[in-house]
C-alpha cells in the first residue's frame, strides 16, 4: 500500500525520541466531527503515546487524490501506517478505549 508522505504535518512533542507510531488522520474540511476527532486524537496521543508518535492530518477536500491510497471511505478515518500491518479506525475517536485497542496500544482483553 502506497503511503502518502505529503501533507500538513503536526510535529510530535518530543522529536528526539524514536517514533514508534506513524498515524494519519483523514478529514474532509473543518467539520465539527473532524475537529472532534482531531482533539480526541491529540488527547489520546499525549496521554498514551507521548513522544512515540507522528500524526499527519490529511484534508481530502484539498488532496482528494490521496483518498484512494489508504482506501479511505469513511470520514474521519485514522490510519495507523506504522507499525505494520496498517489498521484503520473510523469515527470521531470518542471512545478512547476502542481507539487504543484499534491502535494495538492495548490488547483488547486487558485493562490498564
Amino acid at each position: 500500500m502506497k503511503a502518502p508522505r505529503v501533507s500538513k504535518t503536526k510535529p510530535a512533542p518530543h522529536r528526539t525520541a524514536p517514533r514508534k507510531y506513524d498515524l494519519r488522520l483523514y478529514v474532509a474540511g473543518q467539520t465539527p466531527r473532524s475537529l472532534q476527532a482531531l482533539s480526541n486524537l491529540k488527547r489520546i496521543c499525549e496521554e498514551h503515546l507521548a513522544g512515540n508518535y507522528r500524526v499527519e492530518i490529511i484534508d481530502l477536500l484539498e488532496k482528494p487524490q490521496l483518498a484512494a491510497g489508504d482506501q479511505i471511505l469513511a470520514i474521519p478515518t485514522l490510519v495507523r501506517a506504522i507499525p505494520r500491518p496498517a489498521r484503520k479506525i473510523i469515527g470521531d475517536l470518542s471512545n478512547t478505549e476502542r481507539v487504543l485497542v484499534g491502535l494495538d496500544v492495548r490488547p483488547a482483553q486487558r485493562t490498564q
Binding site: 474532509a28 487524490q65 489498521r87 470518542s94
Partner: protein, 572 residues
C-alpha cells in the same frame, strides 16, 4: 416514440435494451440493476460505461466495491473491452473501494464523505457523464453501522442526481426485496431486474424493466444472453408490425408445390411452417427450398438442430439434392447445434448473430420443435414469433419445420399458425398395410392456393408431388393409387379394343353392302341389255315375216297392198 422529448435518455449501447427502453436509461439519473449472483450485473454496468466512452463520447467512472480494476479488466477483456486503454485515454476511471472489517475499528460518528470525494474527483478528472457503482451494498459487510450507510446511500444518490451523471448501481438480489439492503427505496427512477433460471438443464437469462419513471418501456421479461459480444437483449416482439411486404414470389424448389400456390411459389419475405409427423419429409422440403434459393444465387442458412452438416449433405444427396456444392460456393451455411447445447436464448442470439453476419435471403430452421424439449407451446411460439419478426425485418424468407404428432396439431395450430404466412402439412397415411406421405396446404396468406391433398414422393431426383385418387374409402395413395392407376389403364385399353372391334365390324358390313350394290348394278345392266335385245329381235322377226309373206303372195300371184295388210301381218 412516447416521451422521447420529455425525458432525456442515455443510450446503453447494449443490443436490444435501448429498444425496450425507447432510447436507454434515464439521463442524469441513477438506475438500479439488480439480480442474483452471476446474472451479469457487473457486465451490464461495464458495457454501459464502455459503450458510453466509445460510442457516445460520454466518459465514465467505475467505482467497484468487489473486484479490483485489474480483475475487472481481465474479466471483460474476452469481450473485446480494453479497459486499460480506455483508462489511459482518459475515458474511464476505475476506482476499487474495499473495506476489510478485520483492519477497521469503529468509534464514534462518521460519514462516507471519503467515497463522495473519491467519486467527485474521478468524475471531475475526466468530465465523466456516466457512473457505475458496482454493488455498493458490499459496504454493509465492512461497516457495522447500517443506519449511517443507509443515510449515506440516500445522500449519495441524491448527490449523483445533482451532479447530473447517469448512474448504474448494481445490487445483489435479496430474499424478499430486490436488493439485500433495500437500495430500491433510494433509487427509484429506473429499476432493471436481471434473472437467470435453469430450465431443462439449460440456463435462460431474462431481463425485465421493473420500473421506469417518466417513460414507457417494454414490460415483458426479455431473454438476454451473454456471449463473446457482450449482452444482447432480444425483444420478444418487434415493437412495430411494419415489415414491408414484397410482391415477389420465389420457388419452393418443388414444381408441383409451386403449382399449388398458383404456379409461383412462396412470397419473398414470408414465413413458412412445415408441420409433420416423424419421417414425413420435412427436412427434404426445407432442403429443396434451400437448393432452389442457391440456384438463384441467393445466400441461405440452414439451422439444423438434429443433424450435423455432413449428415444433412449426405442424406439430401440420396434424394438428389446436392447441398454440398452450395456450401463449397459459400452460398449456403449449415449451422448445426444440439438443442441442449445451450438455452433457448443462446440459440436465438447465435441465430441473430449469424443472420447479421451472413445476411441470407432464405433461412431454414429444422426443426424448431427441437428447441423446446418438453414442448412448451408457449416457448415455441415465442421463439417462432421472434425469429419470424427478425427475419421479416431483414426481408428474409424463413421456413420452419415443426415435428408434431397428430394430436398435437390442434394446439400447434393455435399457437403457431397465426404467426406464419404459409402452413404446409405433411402427413403419413397408413392404409392397406403401407405408409404413404401426403402433403397439403393448410393456409397461405395473400395468394390463391390449392385445396388438394397431394401424394408426396421422395425420388432420387428430389421431392415430387402426385395427384391422389379419391376412392370410396378416402384418398388413395401408394399401392392403392398404383392399383387404381393400373385399373384406369386397363379400362382404357378395353375401351380402345372395343372401339377397334366396332370399327372393324362396320367396315366389313360396309364392304358387303358395297359388294351387294355392285351385284345389283350388274343385274340392272343385264336387264337393260335384255330389253334392248328383245326389241331388236322383234323388229328383225317382223321384217322376216313381212318378206316371207310378200314372197308367198308373189308366188301365189296375189297383189297385196303391203301397207294395208301390215297390222294383220303381225298376227301371223
Amino acid at each position: 416514440m412516447p416521451n422521447a422529448q420529455v425525458l432525456p435518455k442515455s443510450p446503453t449501447g447494449i443490443a436490444g435494451l435501448d429498444e425496450i427502453t425507447f432510447g436507454g436509461l434515464p439521463a442524469g439519473r441513477p438506475t438500479l440493476v439488480c439480480g442474483g449472483a452471476g446474472c451479469g450485473k457487473t457486465l451490464f454496468g461495464i458495457e454501459f460505461l464502455v459503450h458510453g466512452a466509445l460510442e457516445f463520447n460520454e466518459p465514465g467512472v467505475c467505482i467497484s466495491f468487489e473486484e479490483t480494476a485489474r480483475d475487472l479488466a481481465v474479466n471483460v477483456a474476452s469481450l473485446g473491452f480494453d479497459l486499460e486503454k480506455l483508462q489511459k485515454s482518459k475515458k474511464l476511471v476505475i476506482d476499487h473501494i474495499y473495506i476489510d472489517r478485520s483492519e477497521i475499528a469503529e468509534t464514534g460518528e462518521y460519514d462516507l464523505e471519503g467515497l463522495f470525494i473519491r467519486l467527485a474527483s474521478a468524475i471531475d478528472a475526466i468530465g465523466a457523464k456516466r457512473v457505475l457503482l458496482d454493488t455498493p451494498e458490499a459496504l454493509f459487510g465492512g461497516l457495522s453501522n447500517a443506519g449511517v450507510l443507509r443515510s449515506e446511500f440516500r445522500r449519495l444518490f441524491a448527490w449523483l442526481k445533482n451532479k447530473g451523471v447517469t448512474a448504474v448501481i448494481t445490487g445483489e438480489r435479496g430474499e424478499r426485496t430486490l436488493t439485500r439492503h433495500g437500495l430500491e427505496e433510494y433509487v427509484s427512477d429506473c429499476v432493471i431486474l436481471l434473472d437467470h433460471r435453469v430450465q431443462n438443464d439449460a440456463v435462460t437469462r431474462r431481463l425485465r424493466v421493473l420500473k421506469y419513471r417518466g417513460s414507457t418501456h417494454g414490460t415483458s421479461e426479455y431473454p438476454f444472453l451473454i456471449d463473446e459480444k457482450g449482452i444482447s437483449v432480444l425483444p420478444v416482439t418487434s415493437l412495430a408490425l411494419s415489415h414491408v411486404a414484397p410482391l415477389e414470389r420465389i420457388s419452393s424448389g418443388i414444381a408441383e408445390l409451386d403449382q399449388m400456390f398458383g404456379g409461383q411459389g412462396y412470397y419473398r419475405g414470408s414465413s413458412i411452417l412445415v408441420t409433420g409427423t416423424a419421417g414425413t419429409g420435412k427436412t427434404s422440403v426445407g432442403s429443396q427450398f434451400l437448393d432452389a434459393a442457391c440456384r438463384r444465387g441467393e445466400r441461405a442458412i440452414f439451422f439444423a438442430f438434429e443433424e450435423s452438416p455432413g449428415q444433412i449433405v449426405r442424406n439430401m444427396r440420396s434424394i438428389g439434392i446436392d447441398l454440398g456444392r452450395w456450401v463449397k460456393k459459400g452460398l449456403l451455411h449449415i449451422e448445426s447445434a444440439r438443442p441442449s447445447a445451450f438455452g433457448l436464448e443462446m440459440h436465438l442470439v447465435r441465430m441473430h448473430h449469424l443472420l447479421a453476419e451472413h445476411d441470407p435471403q432464405v433461412v431454414v430452421l429444422d426443426p424448431i420443435s427441437a428447441l423446446a424439449p418438453g414442448g412448451s407451446q408457449h416457448d415455441i411460439s415465442s421463439l417462432v414469433l421472434r425469429t419470424v419478426d427478425f427475419l421479416k425485418s431483414r426481408g428474409a424468407t424463413g421456413l420452419f419445420t415443426h415435428l408434431s404428432d397428430l394430436d398435437d396439431l390442434q394446439s400447434t395450430s393455435l399457437s403457431i399458425s397465426s404467426l406464419v404466412d404459409t402452413w404446409i402439412l405433411l402427413r403419413n397415411v397408413e392404409v392397406n398395410g403401407e405408409r404413404n406421405r401426403v402433403l397439403y396446404v393448410l393456409k397461405s396468406r395473400g395468394m390463391a392456393h390449392s385445396n388438394q391433398i397431394r401424394e408426396f414422393l421422395l425420388t432420387d431426383r428430389g421431392v415430387k408431388l402426385r395427384d391422389v385418387y379419391v376412392g370410396p374409402g378416402g384418398v388413395l395413395t401408394g399401392s392403392a393409387r398404383l392399383a387404381r392407376e393400373a385399373e384406369v389403364q386397363r379400362d382404357e385399353s378395353a375401351r380402345q379394343r372395343a372401339a377397334k372391334q366396332r370399327e372393324l365390324a362396320a367396315r366389313s358390313s360396309l364392304q358387303s353392302l358395297d359388294a351387294k350394290i355392285a351385284a345389283l348394278q350388274a343385274e340392272r345392266e343385264s336387264c337393260h341389255a335384255e330389253l334392248a335385245q328383245t326389241a331388236e329381235d322383234d323388229a328383225a322377226l317382223q321384217e322376216i315375216t313381212r318378206n316371207d309373206r310378200a314372197q308367198m303372195q308373189r308366188s301365189r300371184g296375189v297383189v297385196v297392198d303391203v301397207k294395208e295388210q301390215r297390222p294383220n301381218g303381225r298376227k301371223l
